[in-house]
């Protein structure tokens, strides 16, 4: 194991190419994810940032192959995970990936646990599915996982309704990490929690991630969380990643007009609050995306070409920082 981690850490653990996911409904086709590109190395944490409806959850469900079908369909692209394309895997093969190699923490801890099953058994379930252990060993390991997330063994037999929101999310984290997955997808794991609990849960996730050396996709719209725990950031708009890069590069030198808009709309205590400039307008309806670049109706610096052509290529800003915007494609390298 140790000798190939060095080699493995150079190649991407996850490499999503041109992923498109549509929800085909009676009212029309919702183009939730459009030609999305994303890559992640082993041990890395990437923040997936974007406003509501940008397609973050859909992307995550796509990686898990859990997009509800109908109406959802992966209509194109590849999801390469450790060298294998997940979109081509059979359902049975995917079941061996889910919970074992890729885990997901969902948005709302209040509803993601089964109300009629003791928490310990809900953790043991995933262990029994993927490890060759007896039921008793699985239960013992489940209690160990609960201890790791700070829940005492006496409470292991209790039911979800006996726990607070923060504790439930700890249980969900314990389920997700029980089989030591290579990739953990966290879909806004703390938005439903109050601020102090948020900080505790994030701290816990940071420590466990370090302990297990898990790669992580952290879905959030909170740039503070990104700054706190991520190595990389991907900015998502209307179903695709418009800018991706090393956290420091991207925070210091945002390029895409949408990214710049996001940073400008953050309140900054050091500056005068009048300088707050939210992006004008709203995210386009994914059922009816504008022609050209989907951001052009809200963009202050859009050129005539932006209304006709959508950018398809990424432009390197620096070695670890790329942007998808026509403003940069003629003068490669930006500036």
């Amino acid at each position: 194991m140790p000798e190939n981690t060095a080699q493995a850490s150079n190649e991407a653990l996850l490499d999503i190419q041109d992923l498109s996911i549509h929800y085909i409904t009676e009212d029309g086709t919702v183009r939730a994810v459009n030609n999305l590109n994303l890559s992640l190395k082993r041990g890395e944490t990437i923040g997936l940032v974007g406003e509501t409806g940008a397609g973050k959850t859909t992307t995550a469900l796509g990686i898990m192959r859990l997009v509800p079908d109908p109406p959802g369909k992966i209509v194109g692209g590849r999801i390469n995970f450790a060298g294998e394309d997940l979109t081509q895997k059979s359902d049975a093969a995917m079941r061996n990936v889910r919970g074992k190699r890729i885990s997901m923490i969902f948005q709302d801890p209040m509803t993601s646990l089964n109300p009629v099953i003791p928490v310990r058994d809900q953790i043991a379930e995933v262990i029994l599915l993927h490890e060759k252990v007896s039921a008793a060993e699985a239960l013992a390991k489940a209690e160990e996982m609960l201890l790791k997330v700070g829940i005492r063994s006496e409470r292991a037999r209790e039911y979800p309704h006996q726990f607070s929101g923060g504790m439930r999310q700890r249980v969900v984290i314990a389920i997700a990490l029980a089989c030591n997955p290579e990739l953990l997808i966290s879909d806004e794991p703390t938005t439903a929690l109050d601020v102090t609990i948020q900080a505790q849960v994030l701290e816990l996730m940071k420590n466990l991630k370090r302990e297990f050396n898990t790669s992580m996709i952290m879905i959030t719209h909170d740039l503070g969380i990104v700054a706190d725990i991520c190595d990389k950031v991907a900015i998502m708009y209307a179903g695709s990643v418009v800018e991706i890069g090393d956290k420091y590069d991207l925070f210091r030198n945002p390029k895409h007009p949408y990214t710049i808009g996001l940073f400008n709309s953050l309140p900054d205590i050091e500056k005068d609050e009048d300088s707050l400039k939210p992006i004008k307008g709203f995210m386009p309806d994914p059922m009816d995306l504008p022609s050209g670049c989907p951001f052009h109706p809200r963009c202050d610096v859009a050129k005539p070409i932006c209304m006709q052509a959508a950018p398809s290529e990424y432009v390197n800003v620096s070695e670890n920082h790329r942007v998808k915007c026509l403003l940069f494609s003629d003068t490669t390298g930006g500036e």
Binding site: M64, L66, M94, R95, N96, V97, R98, G99, K100, S103, M104, F106, D108, T111, S112, L113, N114, P115, V116, I117, P118, E125, V126, L129, H130, Y159, H161, Q162, V172, I175
Partner: protein, 308 residues
């Protein structure tokens, strides 16, 4: 939990007194005179007055009711006006038949309704689901007596598979149980289906999928237990309806049960039998409701913790 059960048993008392009041009032105001029924049209006036006094029917309403309650509390239900045998005895040997019929119908309706409901939900909008919906609608809307007669014509008269009347052997049990059970099966199926559809949309089902669990296992060990909670209520309520259904069905199939006996007793104005019979049925129904609440707690830990 024990405390809860004791409390619920205690609460059954006022319910039963209420039932007694209603049933007593109803028999009191029903036209028709039991004394005339017993003695016939040609009876002498003196005999009539004597029997009235003997049966306590000459007392004012409240006195009669008070006596009825007092007697009932001592498990003294009186004697049948027509046969002169104790009510408990008359009811006692017919009651097991009716209970058996109702219980078998519940089992049939649960065994048909729940699996079909689950399948319908899992295969929503497929031919199977649509077919089950149509059959279910028919099952609910067809009246019991008509269904009973059709089943007799088809399976007894034409095919000769089952006997037409009576209740002696298990072969006799099949048609009446189905007659009563089918409409309940349809209701339980619809309830299971909608409850199941609700549950499989829940986040925790997605969590189970994210663990890599198999779909069939998700249905059985994650969805079903949650989906059954509302179904249990419906089954409990159905049991009351099934007891009612037994009355008609026993008449159609000439089954010597409590239901048919009650119908006959009403025609004969045999007040003690009617009162005792209704009281017994109410008692059974209350017990079934208690059982439903206990089952609830068994299935749902959130309710269990409320009971403490």
């Amino acid at each position: 939990m024990h405390k809860f059960i004791l409390k619920r048993l205690g609460m059954m008392l006022p319910v039963l007194v209420g039932v007694m009041f209603v049933i007593f009032t109803l028999t009191y105001i029903t036209p028709g005179d039991p004394v005339m029924m017993i003695l016939g049209d040609q009876a002498a006036q003196e005999d009539i007055v004597n029997l009235r006094a003997e049966l306590g029917l000459d007392q004012p309403f409240l006195v009669q009711f008070g006596m009825f309650v007092a007697n009932t509390m001592q498990f003294n239900f009186g004697t049948s006006f027509t046969t002169g045998r104790p009510v408990l005895e008359e009811i006692g040997f017919r009651f097991p038949t009716t209970m058996q019929l109702a219980a078998m119908s519940v089992v049939i309706s649960v065994l048909i309704g729940i699996p079909l409901g689950i399948l319908s939900a899992v295969k929503q909008y497929t031919i199977f689901d649509n077919g089950a919906t149509i059959i279910g609608l028919l099952g609910v809307s067809i009246p019991n007596f008509w269904l009973g007669m059709m089943l007799i014509i088809l399976f007894s008269v034409n095919l000769g598979w089952f006997p037409t009347t009576g209740f002696e052997t298990p072969m006799h049990w099949v048609l009446p149980s189905f007659t009563i059970g089918i409409s309940s099966a349809a209701i339980i199926m619809r309830m299971t289906r909608s409850s199941m559809l609700e549950v499989i949309r829940q986040d925790y089902i997605r969590t189970a999928r994210a663990k890599g669990q198999k779909e069939s296992k998700i249905i059985v060990s994650h969805a079903l237990k949650n989906a059954l909670i509302p179904v249990i209520t419906v089954v409990g309520l159905q049991f009351g309806l099934l007891l009612g259904g037994a009355i008609l069905t026993e008449t159609i199939y000439a089954i010597p049960g409590l239901g048919r006996f009650m119908v006959e007793s009403i025609q004969r104005r045999d007040y003690p039998i009617i009162q005792g019979g209704v009281l017994l049925l109410a008692l059974v129904f209350s017990f079934v409701n208690l059982l439903v609440d206990i089952l609830y707690a068994f299935v749902d830990p959130r309710i269990r913790s409320q009971y403490k």
